[in-house]
Amino acid sequence: MDSVFSHTIAAILTIGIISFLYKDNPLYKFCESLFIGVSAGYWFVQQYYANLLPKLFDNLGITKLVGAENAPEGALQALFLEGRLDDNLLYLIAGVLGVMMLLRLSPKIGWIARWPLAFTVGSSAGLYFITYFQSNAMSQLEHTILPLNSFNNLVLIVGTVTGIIYFYFSKEHKGVFGGAAKVGIYFLMITFGASFGYTVMSRMSLLIGRIDFLFGTWLGLVK
């Protein structure tokens, strides 16, 4: 695409979104609707090429079956050409569960879509149970067990412990426990403040990027 033409389209779309700062207007609504459609299309294509094609079609051998030259041989080739059961044939289960998910569209047999849903919910619960326990709970606590030989280590230990105490609601926040929870609140406030500061910075840098595009790349006013 010609760069002047393509940059002009990008600039019009950028201005269209920014125009919302004035008020809701037809140009903004056009850009918003286009964004919804284009992003849905983009993620659809990405999902197809990143997951469905390599993980289902390639493993089963469907890609090879439809005549793709460079595609690898899959479970179907192993079954029908070599007469053996390949491990990849198990991906057929995922494919069947996926198709069952589409039955949601049918009012009569839509309940079947609960089976793949149950599979995804169950696998997420099982995986998250382990990964969160290992990486978020145990690993974070492990890194908090530090020698009390520096001010920073002391602050880290006190901050983590008092922060966790604040999240413990089974005991009333009174006395020493309440005091520790209060200290925990201050540490959490620092964390929220830091996150807020970073969010402001990231949004500002995005805005600067768009303004730089408009006045630099598109109009050529800023070198």
């Binding site: 964004f35 659809f44 599979f119 995804t120 969160y132 403040g193």
Partner: protein, 227 residues
């Protein structure tokens, strides 16, 4: 049966995955990885369902000439054009195994000159709303809000040239009070402590929720009985 079987599936899949961590042998050792791939495949079908729903909702709006229906045409057109450009690799290498993001292909052009500017500007627009939120947050009503304000202010200043210049005159023994150093310290010590407390809290919440789901106590994901 319509509700019992899914609960049994959830229980079996969830508990087998937890047990598999303690059995590092075939086939249990690879179950986590395999189930993740299955999850990805099923997620694509869920995405197809979502795309179908998008077309159904907007198609309905166009057909019934609802208020603002021309914008639905834009959404459907944007989705269709992007999907066709990507799936058929228009202007790029032909065939299933061709490069999707080849420079000059229609999909790449749409990504570069339509999708990226729209997405970046949409998020950049949030800068103005963050500024508005700052106005409210930066009013130190109590001690907690003051601590939040100070942390945010130091982090913001510490990442700008102005913040660097502001305290650059401090002598070496007091260099730890320079705003960029202070910002780095806040990030790596008190912020880290708060983050750890939050992460441990989240982990305990996720573990409790996962147990509820696996044991069938939590069934809201199955939807209403009438469905």
């Amino acid at each position: 049966m319509r509700r019992q079987i899914p609960v049994v599936i959830t229980f079996i899949v969830g508990s087998v995955l937890i047990i598999s961590v303690f059995i590092p042998h075939k086939p249990f050792g690879q179950l986590g990885e395999n189930f993740s791939v299955y999850f990805d495949i099923i997620a694509v079908f869920a995405f197809i369902l979502g795309a179908g729903n998008l077309l159904r909702v907007h198609g309905n709006r166009i057909y019934k000439k609802h208020k603002d229906w021309p914008y639905s045409v834009v959404t459907v057109a944007g989705f269709t054009v992007m999907m066709i450009a990507g799936l058929f690799k228009i202007g790029g290498s032909p065939g299933i195994t061709g490069d999707l993001t080849e420079p000059g292909s229609m999909f790449e052009d749409l990504y570069m000159y339509v999708f990226t500017p729209l997405m970046a500007t949409m998020f950049a627009l949030l800068a103005f709303y963050v500024a508005s939120a700052s106005h409210r947050a930066f009013r130190a009503k109590n001690k907690e809000a003051t601590v939040l304000l100070l942390a945010a202010f130091v982090i913001l200043l510490g990442r700008t040239p102005f913040g660097v210049e502001l305290t650059s005159w401090l002598p070496d023994p007091l260099s730890f009070l320079e705003i960029p150093n202070l910002a780095s310290w806040i990030m790596s010590v008190p912020n880290m402590a708060g983050q750890r407390a939050i992460m441990v809290g989240i982990a305990l919440g996720v573990i409790a929720m996962a147990l509820r789901v696996i044991l069938g106590v939590e069934r809201t994901y199955l939807g209403a009985d009438s469905e």
